[in-house]
Symmetry: C2
Subunit: 296 residues, 2 copies
Amino acid sequence: MNFGINLSFAVKRWPEPEIWAKMVRETMGIEQVQFTFDLLDPWTPEPMRSSMAEKISQSTMNWGVRIESAFCGLASYTYNNLLHPDIDGRRISIEWWKRAMDLTVKIGSSIVGGPLGGMSITDAANTDRKKNLYDILLDEITELTHIAKTSGIKKFHIECTPLNREIPYSIEQAKGLINDIANRCEVPVEFLIDVGHALYQPLYGEKADLNKWLRALNPHIGAFHLQNTDYQSDSHWGWPNSRGIFDVALFVKQLQNANLQDIPCFLEIIYPFEMDDEEVKRNVISSVQHCKKYFV
Amino acid sequence: MNFGINLSFAVKRWPEPEIWAKMVRETMGIEQVQFTFDLLDPWTPEPMRSSMAEKISQSTMNWGVRIESAFCGLASYTYNNLLHPDIDGRRISIEWWKRAMDLTVKIGSSIVGGPLGGMSITDAANTDRKKNLYDILLDEITELTHIAKTSGIKKFHIECTPLNREIPYSIEQAKGLINDIANRCEVPVEFLIDVGHALYQPLYGEKADLNKWLRALNPHIGAFHLQNTDYQSDSHWGWPNSRGIFDVALFVKQLQNANLQDIPCFLEIIYPFEMDDEEVKRNVISSVQHCKKYFV
């Protein structure tokens, strides 16, 4: 099995690379992380971008922690990005990805990813406009993989999200997308599946089933996000959580049955900013212990 | 009374200036908004920053909507900002504010604000380091008001937050801060009080009382954020909400008793990204109707 943690737990509380790297290696016994851009904004101008990246790179080396990939967090998810209604809004997103890829390479990784973008309600209600934005998105992905190639990025990961204004939000749409970009990309494009997204019942219904995603997208899955959830929200809770019912043991079996046990799986827990720090620390550690029992 | 809405409700769903300006004026009957940087990231490079700002400016003119101020949202709040443990991290924040002020003026406003920043857990546990970061923060505020003056900004608003790693988080700390920066600032500095922050019981206890804030900081209060809350989280809910118990009628009386009825008060509702769009639309409108009953 291939278990790691997304650094979302460290945001604002443990922003020092020496501190989170030590926590990950010593306290959690984890060697592999997914960096979150919520710890360092890719917009950061030089010389701070390089100096901050250098400290991250140095600390992970000091503690023997590998940054497997770098990923979008809450800050970048706040915007419409590649599906912004305005062409200038979409250009902003391309610029952001350019810098995100540069930062990824500077912190010592060669895989980058995130959700692509969200349409406005107005655009999503207009069939022609939706089709047009989809075609634009294909061109943008092509452009991003070109930038990736030039930046030294080896793989681009697309996160599926549980909103029908975003692309891709369904198994069918993800399959369509991967077909439509085939032979147009300069680096491989794969999906990141977040278990809480795939099982979000208000959108997919009570029959939402992770196995369907694992089967349909099997050769195209490059990573997973693991979270505790009640299937009624994009919860990103840890363990224990009084409302969380996600079954890690079952998930691990599903991965094995789908022959996906070697695909990296990152625990991604997001705590409210105002939550008590000691409670957060306890919950991060108990969540890691809980998941590691099954990821052996 | 002086009622308006923070554009947080429009984030990702109605990002088009023509759409939100129309909704605010026609559907809500509101003439005054607080712009959120969650709709346009101040990091946006030129020429997109100016072109996007121009469209915002044009749409608000078209619809007779006034942008009273521009404010930090979720994206910028994700980072440690002016209290980042690393000097480079803090320089990033100064750079961000420089661009935020430029953007504020470009969209036609002259008041800007937000929370200042958050310490790491490690720094907050070290008394000397805390004192040092506080002194640094005073210098940073001085520098920001200098940048404000040069940018054409007339007032800088500091938001009080319910986290003891952030500054200011308490009435006492806010009073101390305003004293410590007296005569050091090139534009007036005032506080924005968020009712849900001030009444957050896990930090301030069950006796948390808005009146205390209104009395102690009275001449220094420049704006309010209004939200529905259960006092147990930084909820930012609207009305109706099954768990929300914030009493707008009482709040309005408190404002009048404190002679603060002319200070702008912005409804700031934040919905989960994955929440159903129709439900969001209904809730925004009913929330505005609910609050307007009392803000007459």
